[in-house]
Symmetry: C2
Subunit: 425 residues, 2 copies
């Protein structure tokens, strides 16, 4: 059992979830665009609450927000961090749950008059949802001075084409400092980084467990703007052999990669294959025309760098085969992606110890989605993630996290921060 | 050799093709919406020329235009007909070539002071391109009083949602008469109906022949607004087995039907399978989301009613199998379609005789696309079609008909109308 004084202030989190939902809600769920209106509102709410709790407040050049509750002794800080943006028509818990969990843990300490041994810094990270700007981990990379000038200039928001640099400056940032690659965070000053997050898959629901401890984060490579070019032709008058049907060709690619996924998975390899977007050209397509063009996106992920490499080779071969068989041409466009990241063994063990001390022993599990935690791990910060059970996946309005599960994870986190592991300080 | 007096006035056709292209051109090709601006312009041009040739002009309640050059003796008229509308961003020749061929044949007779034995009525038919109103053969069915009140009320233009009835009235028609199913045309008064049309497939180009004589027209069934419902989910965090991926399911359907097409064709069956439109939902899709919804269209055609029946059964079975395998639901929506139609043997023979008498003997060939000629055949009118060689298919701006091939077909038509076959008058 935890000391009563470390009981997290879940009522605070509940109130803020409600306010977020109300103030960033859209027709179906919530929309908190990276560096857009919804994210600004969310940062304002969290900052206001942190000020009310008397935390030390700071921001960096990319508008990441740092809220620190001083510890009892000097040394490397314990970081709790997650993001406050969401996908369009997304759910209220993805990202926000991690930040509100940090707030409720700190509020719990404060209510009990307790301090952790080290500073606890809650970080509200910017722009994690790459659906807006098409680049991964913008906020956390910026905090380490690893956003490039090319990204600031060339990357544009997918809907209104705002440039990333312009959006950061408009939100109150300072792209001058980012361009000089000034690092706000020094990895050697961070003892441990923990990102609490709702689970975005169905594993905890399936196993009846409220809390998961992540062992590693999948890396990925993506083609966000891929295209297949064929030739428009009459649907009734063009024989099968004479067609250059872009729909049939892309369907063949989807089916081939699905079959590859099934085979590799059966052989024990970790991967996911997702064609999330597909469309014929609304200006030219017709039900009575063979389609001359299909645009699509492709997202491939794995925990294994080797699997990602092999996937890439296999994809190129499959594309070439389909081009020959169907008389079409593929233009996959720019490839983006991220490397897989391992969570730190001592952090995993520390979270496990903390969870055993609560009434909700957690299970270990892989992390399928990308998270800012991957950046901290790659920067050499001892990093861990806590997953909270959540039904119906994430990135959609039907996300369903029980506040009781949130409380269970918050208790694990509260306990953990009271005795953070020594990872070689 | 034809008598010199029957040489068609191809210069007239060339001039009108140019005017049509100029006045109904869009950014890439031509757009002549059914009962829309482009079709109205085209009807105005053709009517003006018919008046200049001194033809008897009439219109029916659906705005079909009839232009008659009186024959020498009473009896059933010889009809030449085609449509003047086009698909969006379509080509200048699909449809219009048939009407302008009729005009050039009549103008040739008039220039030579000749008359055919029977009245020659050129019919400019409305609304053949079902991409606009999603219903087949609107103009020709209306001429026979076979448009339903439900169609007039419920069918809407795919882009601006104008109702069909409202569009007909706005173009100068009289939906009151259409609702009473008044038939403007009496099949027993038509001796023969000929629809000249560019070939929409590559057969004449491949065989090096300028003119084809159609033996039959493919029938079809279509699902213009089909949908597959799955569940949106995170692309990295949702395992393969837990997905309800609408993209993967529709790709499986496309691939399965393509494979069926290949098998059936190898066994000598005539069919085409086309998924012309496909799209995830732009408001909800993302490259990092498993797609919860895909909209698509499906167009299946065959010259054989039996093949169409078997296809339908096979489609439903395949859909059910994919629903089970992928955890998705299909809603194929309303099914529309048309019956296959045979061209009249005496008309085919008459066209062949006429073609042999010219320097361009024609070949017999199946007609893959739907045409108004199918309606006349189904109404019991002895019907035939002439195809003109055309590169790059139709329904696109790259249609490429050589005016010399047009002239060759016009000579066949001119010769044919001078001695139309007796099909049992």
């Amino acid at each position: 059992m935890l000391a009563p004084g470390a009981e997290p202030d879940v009522a605070l989190a509940r109130r803020l979830f409600d306010e977020l939902k109300r103030r960033t809600g859209d027709s179906k769920g919530v929309t908190r665009a990276s560096y857009g209106q919804g994210e600004q509102i969310a940062h304002g709410i969290v900052r206001r609450e942190a000020e009310a709790l008397g935390l030390d407040i700071a921001t960096d050049a990319a508008c990441n927000l740092y809220m620190t509750y001083a510890g009892t002794t000097p040394g490397r800080a314990t970081f709790i961090g997650s993001h406050l943006d969401s996908v369009p028509l997304g759910g209220n818990f993805d990202g926000a749950a991690g930040v509100l969990m940090g707030l409720s843990v700190i509020a719990g300490y404060r209510r009990a008059g307790m301090r952790a041994p080290r500073d606890v810094t809650l970080m509200a990270i910017r722009a994690e949802e790459s659906t807006w700007f098409g680049a991964s981990y913008i906020g956390s990379r910026a905090a380490f001075g690893r956003l490039t000038g090319r990204e600031l200039d060339d990357v544009r928001r997918s809907d209104d084409r705002t440039g990333l640099g312009a959006a950061i400056d408009a939100a109150g940032g300072d792209t001058g400092r980012l361009r000089r690659n000034e690092s706000y965070l020094d990895p050697s000053h961070i003892g441990v980084f923990i990102e609490p997050h709702i689970e975005q898959g169905p594993a905890l629901v399936a196993q009846g467990k409220p809390v998961g401890i992540v062992t590693g984060i999948r890396g990925s490579f993506r083609f966000r703007d891929a295209c297949c070019h064929g030739a428009y032709a009459h649907s009734g008058a063009t024989p099968r052999a004479a067609r250059k049907d872009a729909v049939r060709a892309v369907a063949a690619l989807i089916t081939a990669l699905d079959s590859l996924w099934s085979d590799w998975e059966a052989n024990g390899h970790d991967l996911t294959v997702t064609f999330g977007k597909i469309s014929t050209d609304p200006a030219e397509h017709a039900f009575s025309k063979v389609a001359g063009r299909v645009d699509f996106s492709l997202d491939l992920r794995s925990q294994s760098p080797e699997t990602l490499r092999r996937l890439q080779v296999q994809l190129m071969q499959t594309v070439a085969d389909i081009e020959t068989a169907h008389g079409v041409g593929f233009d996959l466009g720019a490839m983006t992606g991220s490397d897989p990241a391992e969570m730190h063994p001592a952090v995993i063990a520390g979270l496990e110890t903390a969870s055993v001390a609560t009434e909700s022993p957690a299970i270990r599990m892989p992390g399928g989605a990308g998270h800012d935690a991957a950046v901290f791990a790659q920067m050499g910060v001892p990093t861990g993630m806590l997953f909270v059970r959540n039904a119906n996946g994430s990135h959609n309005p039907e996300e369903e996290m029980d506040i009781g599960d949130f409380a269970a994870a918050a208790r694990v986190l509260s306990r953990f921060c009271l005795s953070p592991p020594d990872c070689g300080e």
